[in-house]
């Protein structure tokens, strides 16, 4: 049995934040889960997938082709009355945002939780957007856990809140809550075993033509008024300490505040408002807090989300207090925080020196060290494909004038020397769309690269665009038969199926031909001479072509 399915209340286990979310969803009686994998959210989907294979799991889970599809799967399951959860990385919510912005109008029946995992410092991402702004943008309630235990507890609370408000609830994590491991105490499993929902038709609710949407927008605002009052009473927002300096914090940053207060013994100098239910903002709680302190330091990673809200409340209420945070340059809007950064800001605002600082060693002797950046694995088929393409271009004298639009996945590491074959990237699927643009804007040769999973995610629609508008480039689909970067999740084209997983496959070649591409070739990157010959022939022509480079990811062999 999957360890997160165990029926043993009181059992304590070390769980990742992501695993704790899965346990929370299982305790809450999840019926339908969906995702498109993305770090730092991947372990939620991976564990839901493994657990769902157990005959006693009682819920359905799928890896959808992209985040928007995943959002729609979870939304309609909720409309049919079932509890559903969809999870994704922060940029995944951009893809799903078209669904999200109107889902908040038509809203939900069964509890629906949307997990967004942000990545401050961009450990595995192309930007560090602050998805708390999506809660405000879509006008939906949001909870932010600080520890794995809270990740589990808040997931359960989010389902309940969602059903009470008939709104989806956003659970927002960051890398340092998703990938922190800590003790979590298991609770009771849901006794609700019914796994079939029923959709009650109500076009004036579920079909947002303008006349319906106008009404539903007002309903959303009314629901969020109720959410505001629930937020004031939430057990996840609390005040500790009794000093003249007020500190407001949320997420992982609140742990740095708590440790600083504990280690420096600042309990009588600092009053700490620790927020877990962060949108709607707990207005009354904040007003009372402001009135109980002399000045306020806001400690939050990325955008001044709480800081700006506090300033807005102060203007409306005529409260005058000094507010420190982003605007006062105590903190940056870039990158994640660390404990020392937070300690320094707190001591600065308190006008205190750091007591008995530990001495730091003299490290001036340390030589310049060679870097150890991530790279494509030894024996990775992508390396071979890159080399074959380079050799073919060299042979036909086009290497110098070729642009290489690339995409999101392991193969983005083709950026590094000695490969140097990644020139332009925006987001998932952009290799294909940007090739269309380069083909009209330049006379350069264009060879773009996309992985199999990314192709299914968002490569098909721009390929149809390329056919229809007559764009000329060569798209190389790196088909390693899995979603390698995030931990080998299946995708519609896979040949290597996890045990017990017998979903039908959708061959990439059929899709490409179905899109109307005339020149479609397959290569085996390990048969180099053959591959180079085929590539030479394709690359000499000035037309749209697709080369599917097929070879399973080397890590699969290593693992078995």
């Amino acid at each position: 049995m999957h360890p997160l399915l165990q029926d043993n209340p009181g059992h304590k286990m070390l769980l990742l934040g992501n695993e704790a979310i899965v346990r929370g969803a299982i305790e809450a009686g999840l019926k339908v889960g969906s995702t498109y994998p993305g770090t730092p959210s991947s372990e939620i989907g991976n564990n839901l997938f493994l657990a769902s294979q157990d005959e006693n799991a009682g819920f359905y889970f799928e890896f959808s082709t992209n985040e928007k599809v995943a959002m729609e799967v979870a939304a309609s399951a909720s409309a049919a009355g079932l509890r559903s959860l969809v999870c994704m990385k922060h940029v995944g919510l951009n893809v799903a945002s078209d669904a999200l912005m109107t889902l908040s109008y038509i809203a939900t029946k069964g509890g629906m939780v949307i997990v967004t995992a942000d990545d401050p410092s961009m450990h595995s991402s192309q930007n560090e957007q602050d998805n708390r702004i999506f809660a405000k943008f879509a006008n939906l309630p949001m909870l932010e856990p600080r520890s794995p235990q809270e990740a589990k507890d808040m997931t359960i609370e989010a389902f309940e809140l969602s059903e009470r408000l008939e709104l989806p609830v956003i659970l927002r994590t960051t890398t340092r809550t998703a990938h922190v491991r800590g003790p979590v105490t298991f609770g009771e499993l849901s006794k609700d075993t019914a796994s079939i929902g029923k959709f009650e038709k109500d076009p004036r609710r579920w079909v947002p033509v303008p006349a319906v949407a106008r009404v539903r927008h007002k309903v959303l605002l009314e629901r969020m008024d109720i959410a505001s009052s629930l937020c004031e009473e939430s057990r996840f927002n609390h005040v500790i300490g009794n000093g003249k300096l007020g500190i407001v914090s949320s997420g992982v940053a609140s742990n740095y505040v708590a440790d600083c207060i504990m280690e420096l013994g600042l309990e009588d100098k600092v009053r700490f408002l620790n927020l877990g239910f962060t949108f709607p903002h707990p207005r009354k709680t904040i007003i009372n807090f402001l009135n109980s302190v002399e000045k306020v330091l806001v400690v939050e990673e990325l955008e001044p989300f709480i800081e700006d809200a506090i300033k807005c409340i102060m203007v409306e209420e005529g409260i005058q207090k000094e507010i420190f945070g982003k605007a006062s340059s105590h903190f940056s809007r870039c990158y994640e925080f660390d404990p020392k950064m937070v300690k320094k800001a707190i001591l600065d605002v308190l006008e205190l020196d750091e007591p008995d600082q530990k001495t730091l060693p003299d490290l001036s002797w340390v030589p310049e060290l060679p870097m150890r950046p991530p790279s494509l694995c030894k024996g990775c088929p992508h390396r071979e494909t890159y080399n074959a393409v380079k050799e073919a271009l060299k042979a036909i004298g086009k290497e110098e004038i070729t642009i290489y639009p690339t995409d999101i996945g392991c193969y983005t590491l083709g950026l590094l020397p000695p490969i140097n074959m990644a020139d332009y990237l925006i987001c998932m699927g952009s290799s294909v769309g940007s090739s269309c643009g380069f083909s009209v804007a330049t006379e350069q040769k264009i060879v773009s690269f996309i992985g199999d999973s990314t192709f299914f995610h968002s490569g098909i629609s721009p390929l149809v665009n390329a056919v229809h508008n007559g764009h000329k480039f060569c798209l190389v689909i790196l088909d390693n038969s899995t979603t390698a970067m995030t931990g080998h999740q299946p995708n519609p084209g896979i040949q290597l199926k996890p045990q017990g997983f017998d979903n039908p496959t959708v061959p990439i070649e059929d899709v490409v031909r179905g899109c109307g591409v005339k020149t479609v070739k397959k290569i085996n990157p390990y048969k180099k001479n053959e591959a180079v010959e085929i590539l030479k022939e394709v690359l000499q022509k000035d037309e749209l072509s697709v080369v599917i480079s097929e070879s399973p990811v080397c890590l699969v062999f290593k693992k078995s």
Binding site: K12, L14, L16, T39, P40, S42, E43, H123, S124, R146, S147, R176, H179, V180, R181, G182, P183, V252, N255, Y256, A258, D259, M262, E263, E336, D338, P339, K340, M341, K358, T359, L360, P361, D362, L363, W365, V366, P367, E368, L369, P370, M371, R372, P373, P374, S375, L376, C377, C410, L413, P417, P418, M485, T486
Partner: protein
Amino acid sequence: MNPLRILFTGVGGQGTLTASSLLAQAALIEGKEAILSEVHGMAQRGGVVESTVMLGGLKSPLISQGEADILVSFEPLEAIRALNKCHSDATIITNITPIVPFTVELGGPSYPDVEKNIEKMRTVFKNVIAINADDLAKEAGTQRAVNVVLLGVLLGTGLVPISPDSMKATIQQRVKPKFIEANLKAFELGFSAV
């Protein structure tokens, strides 16, 4: 117990994450709460893998510059790279078997002289333990037990209030049956090497 900040560092694939989670599991057996932070995804593709284990009621998962009480490095270059995370009273435990990064071959800075740099470390840190964990792992029967050898060294210092018995129990619970014996031996070899 007093707050204790332990930093593990190594190269992707060396088992740093497993080592930190074994340590935290052993702490949990003794009713001591530990938290860990890990890196996943892009960061793991042959790059540096860092993880932390925080004991003594700390809530912060990260270690700032000069805060680490103990550094456990699976690779000597990565030990040098992580020294700025440690204060002068810290204990440095490092494997001495190099894994040369591909950037050296591409004309980056050369791989530092291990012996010379370890001597330098001894002049600025209170306690430096340099050990050939790869050799001890081989002696125990599996080269993949480098991480468990280093856990043995870590507990052998007596600086972490977790008993060797709890660690052995954790190894028995968590390691695949056919590797338990080799890992227990690896732990013993590390433990008695201090």
